[in-house]
Amino acid sequence: MTATALKKEMDMADVQNSKAWQKACTKADLVAFSGVAAWLETVDGPAQVAIFYLPGLRGQSDELYALDHHDPFSNANVIARGIVGDLKGAPVVASPIYKQHFRLEDGQCLEDESVKLRTWKIEFKGDEVWVEG
């Protein structure tokens, strides 16, 4: 696919303004309390997405998060390979390269207000994992 073709597709998607739900993987691909990466063709073009899975603890429901796999500080695609934790109650992932923390909820970097990872809507459909993008 040439760059122009890609561009055209994007424009059209913009016009239609329609993000579509698509299947990313299955539950068996996920790693509990950790991340995996998926390759998605989104309306904004191809994207590497980090998917984090926090199985429900003590009666709470399962949590799924999808954010950029790309680490803006190192420019490497590694976010899914960071350690998941919570800081002051909010679930976060620490970049494995220079250790900045990103909030899973909205991608906000805790060390640098001006940096925010993209996020996508994500949910289980049965045993399948679906992302809107």
Partner: protein
């Protein structure tokens, strides 16, 4: 431009403040501004500060750090908007050229500014001896950021540099030149280095130490002239017609007060310069004060920042009708010059106190010199001099400045301590009046008062008192006083590992062992903080993973442990800057067969890996893609390799020398021993990485004394050294036991390592652990060699369990399809990460774009 008319109009208004002008925005001038701001003096004074330099005030004391990476901004003494926010006008890059005392105005090339009160804080300038040729290109000084820029620029196409002056600042400048990769020499007029601070013995020792660093030291040299050189840019000609050629010259032959403005307007000046001030820092014109290095008090100039700050406090008091008087200042100093400790307290030469008695201790091997000057009755410390080791400085300074009565044997304070621990005056023994931080004049009493007012930790005390935010020399003492006082008040000093656990690493370790807890989830359920706990974080998870591994040695890739690990442990490889990984198989003792070398080469070729011999005597293959790791490791394992744990906080390498098998000097088989040891302890998870070295004789080719565990062969067996470190802060290992046979050696190391694993903090190397261990080496010997805690059987058993349960993590992983699922770039797509792009350099692959961060 500000015209005096405007200002005069304003000042006629009764409600407007008086005009206060400060000339000089250096360390002391800035400190005065802070004092004025903090004490509400701005309600009364409208303050204007003139600074000749481009930069706002910066930390001149740490100026040299400019060469080791700090920039003007990080050296600045305040935030960029501090003056604006406080309402003080700072005019940088604007020098005062005249003081008109009749009109009460200062003059710059931009205008005239009226004052009611005026403070001179112009500091000093480096003295350049009047030698013909001293103004040649490349003849420089060392005082300001601009000076350093000039030195750096001149050093760019220079190979040699000379510092004229072997005093404190001269040696600092020499260090800087060395850092700029110049062949460096110091030329001193006197017969020894640092003539002000040390005596002949001390100076000789200092010279030896500094020469050992590759800096040439020439004493008793008076430069006659500087002219064109032959091999280099300049030639310095000395009194005896000896010459020295060099590309660059830095003059550091003392400082002179910048008193020209004061001279020109007729203020009283000392015979050898300096604006004369009284106890209130007033000059002979009561409208004008002088503080800092430009001020001459009681015939003395104080070339240090702490007395300058005290003058600034006095000036504030004088300007606000307070009653603080400047009463002189202690010139004691503690320095590390070119890595050499030098300390000088009070009457260090002993020539100001007739009848004083002196004690001297000189250790030519360790290169340490210590001298005490004691009152004739032996009760009071009058001065001290230290070269090579400042370990006892803090203690001696407290004896000196608080007049504490000396022990019966004063010499015990400077003799080497057989117990290994330096004698210290515990923080409890200090009187309330003891000055802890002389820069900010903070006493122990002040610290206690802040704690009683609610400060609960070191940060709180620092914030309230500013202690240890000046030269930083008091940091260690301050911490010990604060900890001591907090503990005395029953405040528990918070040592929690993170917000999820109110325990130290050691506490968690004990819990895990005693309760037999085997997973992180269990641990956080039972012992996590009730309100925050849920997931843990990147601090506690890897720490707990390491504890669990030390105790139970289950594969770290088991499902329960995987989410705990750093990516390096998860994928059993070190992540590189572009998201690829490195592969480092174990090469025990550095011994490798030709077949294995070939196998490594084949794998590297097949997967396009960059190959490099590491500093740990093995081979690192870089640039492996995540999805290739399992195949790479399958092939390596088939060729007889196993994981090298280069990614883990665990045993790294046991470096060996070739030893008695081949070497004509070797007295034991160091390679054999290194392999034994590496195989025994491989896989042991620990608070930080552990490195060993084994040398076959005392020539020490394996550099064992820079390792956590160092072993040196003797005729009778092995000498064991412990707690060495290379890296960021090198530390020599200490001799722990001598002439051990093989079996004794294993037992001793078993116990030592397990005791470390049990008691160290997270990410604490053995060297730092040892330095923080109460009781020091002696205590460690009691525990490990004499079993004073009665735990040695247990420690040995524990180590045996780890040794017996060892398995290669990579072998375990490649036989388990579930574990291999993780080694995919994308769970839904087979493609490799397309953004990883390699190019080639010197015939090998390397990442295409180097990303910066």
């Amino acid at each position: 431009m500000v015209t005096n008319n405007v200002i005069n109009d304003v000042t006629q208004n009764m409600t407007t403040p008086e005009q206060l002008i400060i000339i000089g925005n250096g360390m002391v001038g800035h400190h005065l501004v802070e004092q004025l701001v903090d004490n509400g003096a701005l309600e009364r004074y409208q303050v204007t500060v003139f600074g000749e330099e481009r930069h706002r005030a910066y930390d001149r004391v740490h100026l040299s750090e400019y060469f080791s990476g700090r920039d003007a901004d990080s050296l600045a003494l305040c935030e960029a908007d501090y003056y604006d926010v406080s309402g003080v006008e700072l005019r940088t890059g604007e020098a005062v050229i005249e003081i008109d005392r009749n009109a009460q105005e200062v003059v710059t090339d931009q205008g005239r500014y009226p004052y009611n009160r005026l403070v001179l804080a112009t500091g000093s300038f480096p003295f350049v001896p009047p030698i013909p040729g001293n103004d040649r290109d490349g003849c420089l000084v060392y005082r300001t950021l601009d000076d350093l820029d000039a030195i750096q620029a001149a050093a760019e196409n220079a190979t040699t540099g000379v510092v004229v002056g072997g005093g404190l600042l001269g040696l600092e400048a020499a260090n800087a030149l060395r850092g700029l990769n110049l062949d460096t020499a110091v030329v001193e007029f006197a017969s020894r280095l640092m003539p002000m601070q040390v005596d002949n013995e001390g100076g000789e020792l200092l010279r030896e130490k500094i020469e050992a660093l590759g800096v040439q030291v020439l004493t008793e040299r008076a430069t006659q002239r500087i002219e064109d050189g032959e091999a280099s840019r300049h030639r310095m000609v000395f009194q005896d017609d000896k010459v020295l050629e060099t590309d660059l010259i830095v003059f550091s032959a003392g400082i002179r007060p910048r008193d020209q403005l004061a001279r020109d307007c007729g203020l009283e000046i000392g015979e050898r310069g300096g604006v004369v001030v009284d106890n209130q820092c007033l000059t002979n014109d009561p409208a004008i004060l002088a503080i800092g290095e430009v001020a001459l008090w009681n015939q003395s100039i104080f070339g240090l920042v702490a007395p300058g700050y005290q003058m600034a406090k006095t000036a504030l008091s004088t300007l606000t009708e307070g009653d603080i008087q400047f009463g002189g200042a202690d010139m004691s100093t503690k320095l590390k010059l070119l890595g050499v400790d030098v300390g000088s307290i009070g009457d260090a030469h002993g020539n100001q106190n007739p009848g004083a008695r002196m004690f001297r201790y000189l250790d030519p091997i360790k290169q340490e010199y210590r001298k005490l000057v004691v009152s004739s009755d032996g009760k009071k410390l009058l001065g001290a001099m230290l070269v090579g080791d400042n370990g006892v400085y803090d203690t001696l300074l407290q004896y000196y400045s608080n007049g504490i009565e000396l022990p019966d044997e004063p010499a015990s304070l400077i003799l080497p301590q057989s117990s290994g621990a330096a004698p210290t005056l515990g923080p409890g023994a200090l009187p309330e009046t003891a000055t802890i931080c002389s820069c900010h004049n903070v006493t122990k009493g002040d610290i206690c008062a802040t704690i009683d007012d609610g400060a609960v930790d070191l940060g709180g005390v620092k914030g309230a008192t500013k202690a240890s935010t000046g030269c930083g020399g008091c940091t260690a003492l301050l911490k010990s006083v604060v900890d001591h006082e907090l503990e005395a008040r029953g405040v528990e000093v918070d040592k929690s590992i993170c917000e999820h656990f109110a325990h130290t690493r050691q506490g968690l370790y004990d819990i895990v062992r005693v309760e037999g807890i085997k997973t992180f989830t269990d641990l956080i359920e039972k012992h996590g903080n009730a309100d925050t706990h849920r997931l843990g974080c990147d601090i506690c998870k890897p720490a707990v993973a390491s504890i669990l591994a030390s105790c139970f040695n289950e594969p770290i890739t088991d499902a329960a442990h995987i989410p705990l690990q750093d990516t390096n442990d998860t994928f059993m490889a070190n992540m590189q800057k572009n998201g690829t990984y490195s592969v480092v198989p174990r090469v025990a003792g550095g011994e490798i067969t030709p077949d294995k070398l070939i196998a490594l080469g084949e794998v590297a070729n097949k997967y396009s890996l960059y190959s490099k011999v590491t500093g740990g005597q093995r081979i690192d293959l870089f640039g492996a893609r995540l999805e290739d790791l399992p195949d790479i490791w399958s092939e390596l394992i088939a060729a007889g390799f196993e994981t090298g744990h280069a990614y883990g906080k665990s045993l790294r390498t046991v470096k060996s020398c070739v030893g008695s098998t081949w070497c004509r000097y070797g007295v034991q088989d160091s390679v054999g021993m290194a392999i034994q040891l590496e195989n025994r302890y491989k896989g042991l998870r620990s608070p930080h990485k552990i490195k060993f070295g084994v040398s076959g004789c005392t020539r020490e080719c394996a550099e064992a004394q820079s390792k956590d565990i160092g072993i040196i062969a003797t005729e009778n067996g092995w000498n064991l050294y412990v707690c060495g470190n290379g890296g960021m802060r090198p530390r020599h290992a200490e001799l722990f036991a001598t002439d051990l046979d093989d079996e004794q050696l294993y037992r001793t190391i078993d116990r030592f390592l397990m005791f470390y694993v049990r008691t160290a903090d997270r990410l604490q190397r053995t060297s730092v652990w040892r330095e923080n261990l109460e009781g020091g080496l002696e205590y460690l010997k009691e525990v490990i060699l004499e079993d004073s805690l009665g735990i040695n059987d247990e420690l040995e058993r524990q180590m045996q369990t780890v040794v017996d349960t060892y398995q290669c993590e990579w072998a375990d992983a490649i036989s388990d399809p579930e574990k291999l699922k993780r080694f995919r770039s994308f769970v839904n797509d087979d493609r490799p990460d397309p953004s990883i792009i390699m190019t080639s350099e010197r015939g090998q692959p390397r990442p295409a774009q180097t990303t910066s961060h």
